[in-house]
Amino acid sequence: MNHKKIYPSYFTLLPLILYLAFFIIPSFMGLALSFTDWNAVNDEIHFIGIDHFIDIFTNKRYILVIVNTLIFAVFTTVFKNVIGFGMALALNKGFKTRNFLRTVFFFPVMLSPLIIGLVFKSIYNPEYGVINDFLSLIGLGGFTHDWLGDTKTALGAVIAVEIWRLVGQNMVIYIAGLQAISDDYLEAADIDGASGWQKLRYVILPQMLPSITINLILNLIAGLKVFDLVFVLTNGGPARKTEVLNTVIYKEYGSGRYGFSTALGLIMFVFTCIVAFSVLKAMTKEEE
């Protein structure tokens, strides 16, 4: 080992101080505040133990929010991965418009979720939205719908936008993974007479596991932490059918219940860590 190329350990000091000051200390302060009645109206802060957590886990309204968040995270993760992987396979082949299409599909990733939310709010509008206009135009007027206002379709409509928004990111990561697979394996499979499905199942997928792991974890975390898209499209409505943890945290914070919203934030943090680490562990085991 060339020891001259290893940086001295004091180089870690500055990043460590910054990390402590801007992440670790505020996080622990947040942890402590979630056990208090800190609020906007009363200047005094009292320790109240686990009261907030009892309130949250004994109130079915908050359980429903956790369920909504999970549904959002799981569905967006599955579809973003499946569609993203399919697109990566399609766009990994050589054809003229390949780079152009890659750019087009990646483009939504670069847009702000707020802007996307506003655009889709218009697209979904029941009276003058493009979707209903298009359905009417092709003679399917009976299928026009209040997509964001109906409790049966609202969450699905928001999930669809999130998938559209980030499928390109998944595609790019999968393309990178596909390009790292040596042609030797695929040629060997061809010589052995493997079908397309067999090549995908036994050659490509096992070598794509690192990419799948990254995408699964990133998508699950993004899904559990979703806020801006839901906020703009439905603000948690109608009738809380699209309410997710972050919109509740925002609303509780806005109503002045800071201790309570911090407790919800802590639950989300723990929840995200558990899910992310479980997936990471499971996938790492699979890779081995």
Binding site: V41, N42, G149, N235, G237
Partner: protein, 435 residues
């Protein structure tokens, strides 16, 4: 080795030089910003998007020309405003000036911590007593209300349409349902309800507040001391039951869950919808959006739920407060002085015809015909509403719960019980006696 050393020294020197230039640049920039901020102050003024009109901007411009102090309006969507401003104030990033509803709603912003005491300002002497009372908390004046009452609610309709269809102006719930059925038969959606904008749907419940208070004069005291909750008030329960019935009967049309306030003017003017529960100044607001419209074509009657005949008054509409944490309190006070000058108040009342009662002595408001009709029907049957009289009344929360009632997730009773739970939690956190 020697060459490596030279490279290291050279690299080190260059890094130091770059750091020095960067720091110097930052310093110079900072000094410039400080100098310029010393020359010109900009007051950040936060309000809900529909509270600020052209005349407010014109007055701000005139104030800037006169004093050199600029006013930067920061507007938020109506149903988000309260949340945004509370968050900003409590993270120490509040604007210099912000607007608030009057009455007990001032408490939502923790006036003793977040608002400057304006009791000794010169313009206070010109205020009507009700305007002072509704802008005070614990004996101190925390807000300026030069504008007056602007949101006493009633059901707006077009008398010509009612006449054409032979509809009698409803005086109770049964007559209101008859009116709705006749409108439906004529192909008109009876009521424009915009459930998506959370600030509105609770108006139907709040419309029964004056009646509930008339039936129980201690109502607000009992709610504020936690002797009872909203779920214990039969008028509120019945109002929500009837609201649910209206929705189920199709009186709100198909898209009420997606309807928004901004589309209401066109919805009413086009004749597609027949009525809306709204503030008395609304016809003037419609005219601002549809210039050819005549506000006098509209009239109003009291909310008919629970066979109500009362008009529910607000404490005093919207008010302006100065953030106690602002660095420009004196400049903000200058702005308030400027706005309170007689010529400017007159200009405001003339060009912003949204105020139904004047808050300033010697100034006469020009109420809409609809508002005048409403007050005439009610006569002396009027009283303040719960929104301005009950601590932690949150119309947005009630409206949100009403969404759940419409889709069958909650019963009317459960809506009020859930609202009581959230209100009690806030009051308990705030240390209110009895909670």
């Amino acid at each position: 080795m020697k060459r490596n050393m030279t490279v290291k020294v050279l690299s080190g020197t260059m890094c130091m030089a770059m750091a020095a230039v960067t720091l110097a640049g930052t310093g110079i920039g900072g000094m410039k910003a400080e100098a310029s901020s010393g020359e010109k102050v900009t007051l950040n003024f936060a309000a809900s998007q529909n509270w600020i009109l052209d005349v407010d901007r014109e007055l701000a411009k005139e104030f800037e020309e006169k004093t050199g102090i600029a006013v930067n309006f920061q507007l938020s969507p109506d149903d988000q405003y309260q949340t945004i401003i509370k968050s900003k104030l409590n993270t120490g990033e509040g604007p210099d000036i912000f607007m608030s509803y009057s009455g007990t709603k001032l408490k939502d912003f923790n006036p003793e911590k977040n608002m400057v005491d304006l009791s000794d300002e010169a313009w206070v002497a010109d205020q009507e007593q009700w305007a002072i009372d509704s802008s005070s908390y614990n004996g101190k004046l925390y807000a300026q209300n030069i504008a007056g009452v602007d949101d006493t609610n009633g059901v707006l309709y077009k008398p010509a349409v009612f006449e054409e269809l032979g509809i009698k102006v409803p005086a109770n719930y049964a007559e209101f349902k008859e009116a709705c059925d006749k409108l439906l038969e004529a192909g008109i959606t009876p009521v424009y309800e915009f459930v998506k904008d959370l600030w509105h749907t609770h108006y139907w419940m709040e419309g029964a507040s004056a009646l509930a208070l008339a039936n129980n004069p201690e109502l607000y005291n009992q709610l504020n001391s936690n002797e009872i909750g909203f779920a214990d008030v039969p008028e509120y329960v019945q109002a929500l039951e009837q609201l649910k019935e209206m929705e189920a009967a199709g009186y709100f049309g198909e898209n009420h869950m997606s309807n928004i306030y901004d589309n209401s003017y066109e919805a009413l003017d086009s004749g597609k919808y027949g009525m809306i529960i709204i503030h008395g100044s609304y016809p003037n607001e419609m005219k601002n959006n549809i210039p050819e419209l005549n506000p006098d074509d509209y009239s109003m009657f009291p909310s008919p739920l629970v066979d109500n005949e009362y008009v529910t008054l607000t404490a005093g509409g919207t008010t302006k407060c100065i953030n106690a944490g602002s660095e420009h309190i004196e400049e903000a006070k200058q702005y308030f002085d400027f706005l309170a000058e007689k010529a400017n108040v007159e200009k405001l009342y003339e060009e912003k015809p949204l105020y139904m009662m004047s808050a300033v002595k010697g100034i006469t408001a020009a109420p809409t015909k609809a508002f005048t009709d409403l007050m005439e029907i009610a006569g002396d049957k009027n009283a303040p509403g719960a929104e301005a009289s009950v601590y932690f009344y949150d119309g947005g929360k009630i409206s949100e719960l009403c969404q759940e009632m419409f889709v069958g997730s909650l019963t009317p009773q459960e809506v009020l019980e859930e609202f009581d739970n959230s209100r009690r939690a806030l009051a308990k956190d705030a240390g209110l006696e009895g909670f």
